[in-house]
């Protein structure tokens, strides 16, 4: 029995957040703190000829002016390719070149204006297709000499990642097919646009020759390691402290505001330096979703059975790789969708360009590949005269199916997500006639699949204080997903204490136990399992202690809601009384646990292929009903039903929050967001021109929680969050195709493109739009 798991308890962070008391990274203020600002490159690609800092150095209030030569370090988790501040060369518009620290923000900005930099512009790679040209300029001529992981690159080119996968024989599959379709889809770059921009406060600690940083990040240990590796210092010289994070969505996971903050802090004699990106900087010079061009060729039998798919994907990392390499490998694999297809071939290449850095974005490549896969599924259904739902049900993974590497899929229910999302919008029933003759109605759906990073581990410490309060020490920053709450719910149930007796610690890498990132929807499962292990040990410790104190066989004792009871007798003593009885001597019960997914029998796969396994799989279907105005091309969403297989909902409200938020992000990406990049320069400077969906843009959203049965999950819970945005865009495009009979293959789905598609002309203002 569970008291808290499965219930809609109020979030632990609710009170802090509704009273304005929550302290975010942007709220950190320290005595003597200086304000940093960054001069950025105005050119996509240029040589830095000279930097004159003389006037800036003597400007009022200025404490430090730092160039790349003054702080000549580079970083990068997959490829060490990115300088803290540009060294000799700039590679994108917005690249940090000089950092200034001053007493006030205004003084820092004035000092920037006093800087003089001479550039010599260089030929640039402005489009990802051009990066493959053998004559293209090289964004990183030294690529092959950079430190990097084990993934493949192509030396002497702009290709920083190349990944191939094949299974069966696609040519044989195409030959056996009754229908072969081939399309090219494009997914655009979008901004994470967290309302809290990237922010860091850094302080140099002269005694330790290290740094303390107050940052907003979703992966404290990984960012710390990135920094210590870059600087070539031991991990204990850098301490990261993380409070509430004002949204991340995969964006706050590397050194962004941190680069200038650290470089400046090294030169201010121990005075802390705060760097907060403006909204414009955040939009053009933090990181973006990796844009992609995806060509899919799929062979299918007349009855709808999928036989073969080849996928050729080109990804644009921008000027530096950040966390994109995994997107181009792990993310690319899911281009085959949640379907059994016997013959497969994938070529995934990622190139450098002289454009803004891209990185991980909610879904880690899934939003891009799902866009292509699910758009094409509807074209196939149309060509075969099949129901799009039926086509997906016919080919969709079911429990026990082998994944691409032979892993047996476990704890999944794709079918329920398909059926329930479709039913919610009245699938198969004709849409009611639109109220005006210039309006057209349509319905569409899309499914998706996503793995979680595997194997990864989480450590926790659980301690019961003398008054019966429980502290869970872990490094899982509350980035908005409600993870504090679901972790506390599990801890309360495992140990047997009231929920309000449980506190989840904030993160400080100097004292917090290790954890993998709050990413890949892994927190509930991994930290939850670690809490389960440590919590059970703590509970056993409490009962053992009570057994001795009470003189009762431990098997006769139970701990529930902080009260120890004896079977057949009733309540005997509270946890607080038990531990409090030790008085000044003190008695705290503590346990630590490490949970790792490595070695789980669930990961078994074909020899050498286990790295492609996922400890759990996330499946979802989004179904959309909409209306299009054929005179303006404007889409009005009527309803989105989003069904997600979450394993088990620890807290249905937080699951719904993720699903609703994912749908809104997905529809916002699909319909509104456009950085309008021309010649390597973004055409937006703020939220006036980079439009996010607001209240008036939102349809009725129906979150549907599908529960499945995963044997190793804590209380059966898998993950939700990352998958929630992926299926919305193709479901919208499929509904537009249903309404109008035209298909847009190029994101975003702007009114302009729809109008042009209706008129049969290619839009003049986009490069790659094509219609089928």
């Amino acid at each position: 029995m569970t008291r808290y798991v499965g219930r809609r308890v109020a979030r632990l962070d609710a009170r802090d957040k509704v009273t304005g008391r929550a302290v975010f990274g942007s709220d950190v203020s320290l005595p003597g703190m200086l304000h940093g600002a960054v001069l950025r490159s105005p050119h996509p690609h240029a040589r830095i000829v000279a930097i004159d800092i003389t006037a800036a150095r003597s400007a009022p209030g200025v404490a430090a002016v730092v160039t790349g030569r003054d702080f000549p370090y580079t970083f990068g988790s997959a490829i060490k390719d990115q300088p803290f501040l540009a060294i000799d060369r700039v590679r994108y518009v917005g690249e940090p070149v000089v950092a200034v620290a001053a007493a006030t923000e205004a003084q820092a900005q004035e000092a920037l204006a006093a800087l003089h930099i001479d550039y010599e512009e260089l030929p640039a790679v402005l489009e990802m297709e051009d990066a493959l040209d053998p004559e293209a300029p090289l964004v990183h001529p030294d690529l092959e000499h950079y430190e990097r992981g084990s993934h493949e690159i192509v030396p002497g080119t702009n290709i920083n990642t190349i990944y191939r996968y094949a299974r069966g024989d696609v040519e044989e599959g195409f030959a056996a097919a009754d229908l072969v379709v081939e399309h090219t889809f494009t997914a655009h770059a979008v901004s994470h646009a967290a309302l809290e921009t990237h922010v860091a406060v850094a302080r140099y600690e002269p005694a330790a020759d290290g740094y303390t940083l107050w940052v907003s990040t979703d992966r404290p240990f990984q960012v710390r390691n990135e920094l210590t590796t870059a600087l070539g210092i031991p991990s204990n010289r850098v301490r990261l402290i993380v409070g509430y994070v004002g949204g991340s969505f995969g964006g706050k996971n590397t050194l962004i505001a941190e680069t200038a903050a650290v470089a400046l802090a090294r030169h201010t004699g121990g005075r802390p330096v705060r760097v907060e990106l403006s909204r414009e900087e955040d939009l053009i010079a933090s990181q973006l979703r990796v844009p992609a061009i995806l060509t899919l060729k799929t062979g299918v039998r007349e009855d709808g059975l999928l036989l073969a798919r080849s996928a050729d994907i080109l990804w644009d990392s921008g000027a530096y790789t950040s966390n994109t390499v995994g997107v181009a490998i792990r993310g690319a694999q899911t281009v085959f969708g949640p379907y059994r297809i016997p013959h497969l071939r994938l070529l995934s290449q990622q190139v450098y360009t002289n454009r803004a850095i891209t990185g991980s974005y909610r879904g880690y490549g899934t939003t891009q590949v799902t866009w292509a896969c699910e758009s094409q599924m509807d074209v196939i259904a149309e060509r075969l005269g099949m129901d799009p739902l039926g086509l997906r049900l016919k080919n969709g993974y079911v429990e026990g199916d082998p994944y691409l590497n032979g892993q047996i899929m476990h704890g999944i229910d794709l079918e329920a997500t398909l059926q329930r999302a479709a039913a919610e919008i009245g699938w198969g029933e004709p849409a009611p006639d639109p109220p005006e003759p210039h309006l057209r109605r349509g319905k569409g759906l899309a499914a998706m699949i996503k793995p979680t990073a595997t194997p990864t581990s989480s450590n926790v410490v659980v301690k019961v204080e003398q008054d019966g309060q429980v502290a869970v020490l872990c490094a899982a920053p509350e980035i908005g997903g409600g993870q504090d709450t679901v972790l506390a719910q599990m801890a309360a149930d495992v140990i047997g204490v009231p929920l309000d007796a449980v506190a989840i610690s904030t993160t400080d890498t100097a004292v917090s136990p290790f954890n993998g990132p709050v990413a890949s929807s892994r927190t509930t499962y991994h930290v939850g399992n670690a809490i389960k292990q440590a919590g059970e040990e703590v509970r056993d410790g409490v009962l053992d202690l009570a057994s001795g104190v009470l003189g009762v066989d431990v098997a006769r004792l139970d701990l529930d809601e902080g009260v120890i009871s004896e079977h057949g007798v009733g309540p005997r003593i509270t946890l607080a009384e038990l531990l409090g009885s030790f008085g000044f001597e003190g008695h705290s019960i503590m346990a630590e646990a490490r949970f790792t997914t490595a070695g789980s029998p669930l990961l078994k796969a074909e020899p050498g292929m286990e790295w492609m396994s996922s400890i759990f799989w996330m499946l979802a279907t989004h179904a959309v009903e909409l209306e299009v105005d054929i005179e303006t091309g404007v889409v009005r969403l009527i309803k989105v039903a989003a069904a997600h297989d979450v394993g088990r909902a620890i807290n249905p409200t937080t699951c719904e929050q993720q699903i609703e938020g994912g749908v809104i992000m997905g529809l916002s990406n699909a319909l509104f967001e456009d950085l309008a990049v021309r010649e390597g320069r973004a055409g937006v400077t703020g939220f006036l021109d980079y439009k996010l969906a607001t209240m008036h843009d939102l349809p009725e959203i129906v979150p549907i929680i599908v529960e499945s049965d995963h044997s190793e999950a804590p209380f059966g819970a898998k993950g939700i969050g990352e998958p929630a945005a992926a299926a919305t865009a193709p479901a919208i495009a499929n509904a537009i195709a249903d309404a109008l009979g035209v298909r847009i293959t190029d994101l975003p789905l702007s009114a302009e493109k729809i109008l042009f598609a209706l008129e049969g002309d290619p839009p003049e203002t986009t490069d790659r739009s094509s219609m089928i």
Binding site: R11, T19, A194, L195, E196, Q657, I664, T694
Partner: protein, 156 residues
Amino acid sequence: MISLTLTVNGADRELVVGANATLLEVLREDLLLTGAKEGCGEGECGACVVLVDGRAVPSCLMLAADLAGRPVETIEGIASDGVLDAMQEAFVEAGAFQCGYCTPATILVAEALLRAHPRPGVDEAKDALDGVLCRCGAQPKVLRAIASLMYGEGGA
């Protein structure tokens, strides 16, 4: 620099501020009321909204020097003696927030809405709330929180 008396959450505060200091800067840096956030500094995102004369305004666009004698309410003044007000309770119950960065502004907009229209329609609520961006996508539960406050559990 300008000397002025700013009335914040019912208390008069004597301040010396720069002539070009925004209300947001004064609240956050001089009065250490950090509930109002800067999301853009250009009046586009709404994260800095506070109430002036009972109306929701972006504090990043208001000069503090213009506000002498006009009542300013921030999120910190909404709960009294640690007791949440009904709107805050409704947000907690409905789960009408995620990362929480825009939550103070959203609550203040909702407070102003209900003071002006005790029973607003959904469109009125959407009109009022359209000016606060929320990247987490808490909007559906924000509407539910407001509806539950007006019409009881589950809303209208």
